[in-house]
Symmetry: C2
Subunit: 279 residues, 2 copies
């Protein structure tokens, strides 16, 4: 592992985070996971836009110039190491400060960047995924819905569960029992030649690839996308389901509940649209 | 500040946390804040019981012997430093591991302990607090309610808001609009010679001092305690309100909304019961 990951704290290569740090203490922070291809961070503008929304929600000082400068150095380093495909995680925390929940008014944002070699994994469409159903549900929190903050326990517990049960991913529901997403990605279903995906107004993360499916790749295919509540049973009767995240792009689903899917024409076409943009 | 805090990571004095760490990455961890008096951690059994409940909920390996051993050393160190009253924060994280939400099955729990000198602050009942009303609400999450995990963004944002508005603390509501707690403590109201406090089945932290108020200190005063939903308006019409946490014990409330309270007989008596146990 140690040869396959490189870490920077506030612009310097580091093996440790200065303490105290409010990111550790309270999850007082944000992150983005970008896919690097030959040192190029894909869809950087979408990641920065979500990060800005997160900074506004949490009251973080603007640190975009430092994020860009430090990311650039990490990207250049990945190229030097010969890492063709790479996951770049950019974490912002509200740094140190006195004991207690209240952040210092003049908090200095701390930037932690880690680059992990992905070898050739993202170079082709991922194998169709077997999906479980997570027993833990997303928390209801409209004030923080959509942004990618550091409070991620539900996804950790859902991932722990699907790993133990041998599936590749798991569908996560909201507190009402409607579908929200998988653990690490946004979910879509295909029905009557149309795409459907859940709204993210009370929980969930507004994925960059979700935005691309909705605004760009589906349009290239002439498919309409509708955001609406989806019951778990609707997934099983769909013509096709798939999810997407920054590392996989669109990934087809092989099975959920009692249902198996053997062909994935819509996901395959969306993946081709995505791959076309990378070329 | 630096002379008033001491930090240990896995039993060694340290200024930094090894990276990667899942506590930072996802809030994959738990914590306890204990009050030390002359090196003695008060109500240690209650803190350990809550930590055990948290470890069970998150699937953490038992690390109580190491927590006890490392806490003991931090307590002894605080005595050496002449810190009579001290806040001891014990943080457990699921340590390092490969990229992604799924924790390693054999994760080694990491223990971070920090001791902060409180000088004489906890030696008498705190001044009556002016309470605001937080605009952010607790998230609805029955699966994690009561335990003290590291996902604490709502409390951070509420604390940031009350600091900016100049109050001492703030009432936090649930998603329905009922009262849950203050940012750092559990809330009680006095009405018709009885105590009322909200249930914590969907959100909030089950405080050690809340438990002591309910099971012990109220009984010493001959007061019944009832857990039931409380609307914010009910606070304003109460004879008295107070909150409690591990550092203050019971703390009276001076004002909330349109209401001021000039006498705090129940809180004062509960504080005396608490202080009697320390003697």
């Amino acid at each position: 592992m140690s040869g396959e990951i490189a870490i920077w704290v506030d612009g310097l290569q580091a093996a440790a985070l200065p303490l105290p740090d409010r990111g550790l203490e309270f999850g007082d922070g944000l992150f983005e996971t970008l896919l690097l291809h030959n040192g190029d961070p894909l869809y950087l503008d979408l990641h920065l836009a979500r990060l800005r929304r997160g900074c506004a929600a949490l009251g973080f000082a603007d640190s975009e110039p430092a994020v860009l400068e430090q990311s650039r150095r990490a990207c250049a380093d990945a190229v030097t190491r010969g890492w063709r495909w790479c996951a770049l995680r950019v974490t912002l925390t509200r740094g140190g400060g006195p004991r207690g929940y209240a952040p210092p008014a003049d908090a200095k944002i701390r930037i932690v960047i880690s680059a992990t070699n992905l070898h050739d994994v993202p170079s082709r469409m991922a194998e169709p995924a077997a999906l479980g159903l997570a027993s833990i549900r997303w928390p209801t929190q409209p004030a923080l819905a959509g942004i990618k903050h550091l409070n991620r326990l539900e996804q950790v517990l859902a991932a722990r569960e699907y790993r133990a049960s041998g599936t590749d991913e798991a569908v996560m529901l909201d507190q009402r029992g409607d579908v929200v997403s998988v653990v690490a990605g946004n979910l879509f279903l295909v029905r009557d030649g149309q795409l459907f995906t859940p709204p993210l107004d009370a929980c969930g993360i507004a994925g960059t690839r979700r935005e691309l499916v909705i605004r760009r790749w589906s349009q290239a295919l002439g498919l309409a996308v509708k955001e609406q509540a989806i019951a778990p049973a609707e997934l099983e009767t769909a013509q096709e389901i798939f999810y997407c995240n920054s590392l996989f792009g669109p990934r087809p689903v092989a099975s959920f509940g009692q249902r198996n899917w053997n062909s994935h024409p819509v996901c395959t076409a969306l993946y081709a649209a995505y791959k076309g943009e990378l070329a």
